[in-house]
Amino acid sequence: MSLPGGLSLEDPIVKPGVSLRSLSVEVSDRVLRPKAPRWWWIGFGCSLTLVVTLLVAVAWLFVNGIGIWGVNIPVAWGLAIAEYVWWIALASGGTIISALFFLTRSPWRSATNRIAETMLLSAAACAGLMPILHLGRPGLFYWLFPYANVMGVWPQVRSPLWWDFICLLCYILMSAMYYYAGLLPDLATVRDLAPTRGKQILYGVLALGWRGSVRDWRNQQTVYAIMSAIMAPMVISVHSVVGLDFAGGMTLGWHDTQFPPYFFFGAVISGTALVLMLTIALRHGYHLEDVLTGYHINALAKIVLVGSIMLAYAYVWEDFGPLYGSDVAEKAQLSFRLFGFYAASYWVKIVLNAVVPQLLWFPAVRRNEPLLFLICGGIIVGMWYERFVIVVPSLGRDYTPSYWGLYFPTAWEWAILAGSIGLFLTLFFVLLRLVPIVSMSEVREIIEKRSRNEG
C-alpha cells in the first residue's frame, strides 16, 4: 500500500501508536499542564519586549504624527502599508488552509487547521493595526463605519479603500466565529480533563455546555461545512480587494488588472509558509510528532511550491506588460524597479519567492525540516520585500520626472515592524497556552477511519 504523493508508510497522517485516549490526553495536556515549557517563556518574553517597543513607537507616533516617519510626497505610502498587505496575506493563508482544504476533504488539514487559524487571528490583529497607524489622524478611523451620524457625512463607498476596510472588518469577525465553531468540541474535551477547579470553570464556561450529542454534532457539522464554503470565497475577496486598493490607482506599476489574483497568490505562498514554520516548530517544541507527521509537512510544502509557481507566473506578467506595451513611462518604471535605487529589493523578492522554493520539487527537501524552515522563512522575508517593491518604487517614479523621489524608512518605522512581529508572536503564544493546538475531534475521525481499514 502506498499513500498519495509517493510517501512511504513511515509517514502516516497519524502515527499508529495514537489512540483516541492518548490523543485527547496529550493535546489537552499542552494547555492544562501547570508549567509552560522553557522555550515558551523565552519566546513569550522576547515577544513581549517587542510589544513594548511597539507601544513606545505608537505612542510617539500619536504624539507627533506621521512626520516621524520617512513618508512624504511623492512616496506617501511607506512601510505601514507594505506591512498591512504583508500581514493580511499571512492571515489569509491561514483561512485558505483551513477553509479551502476542508472543502476538498484533505486529510492533512485536520491536524494543521487549528495552527493555521490561530496564526490567522494573530496576524489579522497586526494587519488591522497598520492602516490605522498610517492615518494622519488615527483617532478618526471610525469615520469609515457607515452609520448615520450628526455630522451628516458618509464614507465614499465607491472607493476600494472603503471596500478594504469593510473586508478586513468582516474578515476578522468571521474568522473569530469560524474559529469558535470548530473549537467548541475541543474545549469540552479540555473541560472534562481539567485537573483544577479554576480550569474546570474556565473551560466549562468556554465550552458552553457542549455534550457531543447526536444533535450537537449534526448542528456543528452542518454549520461548519457551510461556514467553510463561505470562508473560502470570502478570503479570496479579502485579498483581491487589497489588490484593488492598488489597481484602482493610476500609479505606474499599480494600475494592472492582474493585481487581485496576484495578491491572492502571494497569500497562498506566504500564509502556507508561515503555517509550515509553525507546524515544524510546534511539532518538536510540544512533542506532537505523532499527530503532526511528515505527511503534513510534505503536503504543506507542496502547497508552498504551488504558491511559488503561481506567484512566479504573476511576476512574469507584471513585467511583461510594460515591455509589450508602448508606454514610455511604464518602461521607465520597470527599469527603475529592476535596476534603480531599490533594485536589490526586487531581486531579493525574485530569488526568495520564485527561485529558491523550486527546491521543493525534490522529495528530499520536503523531508528536510531545517531546510524547509529556512526556505519558508526566506519566503516570508521575500514577501515583505515584494510588498515594499510594489508600494515604494511605484510611487517614487511617476509620469513626470518632477514627481520623482526616494523614501527612507526611519527608525520609528522599523520599530513598528519589529513591534508588530512581537504582537503577532505574543498573541500566538497566549493562544497556544489557551486552546488545544490540534483539532482533536477531527483527528479522532482519522484514527477511526484508520482502525476501520485495519480491522
Binding site: 485527547s24 451628516g152 458618509w154 465607491r158 469593510i166 466565529m177 447526536v214 457551510i226 475577496s237 475531534s441
Partner: protein, 177 residues
C-alpha cells in the same frame, strides 16, 4: 425514590453504540441520545431521523438579509443621504456596491450560523443532568455513551440494561435527575 434522568450505557466502539441504538429503536424507545467524541456516521438516522434543514435555511436567510442590508446602506449613503457627483457617474452606481454587499452577506450568514448552532443545540447550558454521571466525561475523549431518558413513555430500566449488556456496554449507570 425520585425519578432518575435516565440510564446510560458506556461503549467502547462506535459500532457497538450504533448496534445498541438500532436495537433500542426496534424496541420502540424514542427518548434516546448518544454522546460521542466525534460525529459517528449513520447514528443520526437512528436517533434523530429526518432531514434537518433549519440551520442551512437560517444561514440562507441570514445571507439574504445581509445582502439587502449591505446594499441598502450603501444605496442610502450614495444615492439619498449624501449624494456626491463622482465624474458624472450615477448616484446609484450599483457595481461599486457589490463588494460591500457581498461582505455584509457573508458576515450575516456566518453569524446566523454560529448563533443558530448555539440556539439549535440549546447552548449555552452549563448544567445538564447527564453531567452527573462520572462516566460521562469520557464521552468527550474515547467512549461512546448511549442514554435512554426517563421521559420515554416506555422507559423500563431492566430491559434497557439487558440491551446495553447484550451489546457489550462497559458500564451501565443510572443518572440521577
Amino acid at each position: 425514590m425520585t425519578e432518575p434522568f435516565g440510564i446510560i450505557g458506556v461503549f467502547e466502539t462506535p459500532e457497538a453504540v450504533k448496534d445498541a441504538a438500532a436495537q433500542l429503536n426496534r424496541l420502540g424507545f424514542r427518548a434516546v441520545e448518544a454522546y460521542t467524541p466525534y460525529p459517528v456516521e449513520g447514528i443520526g438516522a437512528l436517533i434523530h431521523p429526518g432531514r434537518k434543514l433549519f440551520l442551512p435555511l437560517l444561514m440562507f436567510a441570514g445571507a439574504i438579509l445581509g445582502a439587502c442590508w449591505g446594499f441598502f446602506i450603501q444605496y442610502w449613503d450614495e444615492a439619498i443621504d449624501y449624494p456626491l457627483n463622482v465624474g458624472g457617474r450615477p448616484y446609484n452606481s450599483w457595481p461599486a456596491f457589490v463588494v460591500g454587499a457581498f461582505e455584509f452577506t457573508v458576515l450575516v450568514a456566518v453569524a446566523a450560523g454560529l448563533f443558530g448552532l448555539l440556539a439549535a443545540s440549546r447552548l449555552p447550558r452549563l448544567y445538564h443532568p447527564i453531567f452527573n454521571a462520572a462516566e460521562f466525561e469520557r464521552a468527550s475523549r474515547d467512549r461512546f455513551v448511549l442514554c435512554v431518558e426517563a421521559r420515554d413513555p416506555s422507559f423500563e430500566p431492566t430491559m434497557i440494561r439487558r440491551v446495553f449488556e447484550r451489546y457489550g456496554a462497559e458500564s451501565i449507570v443510572e443518572v440521577p435527575a
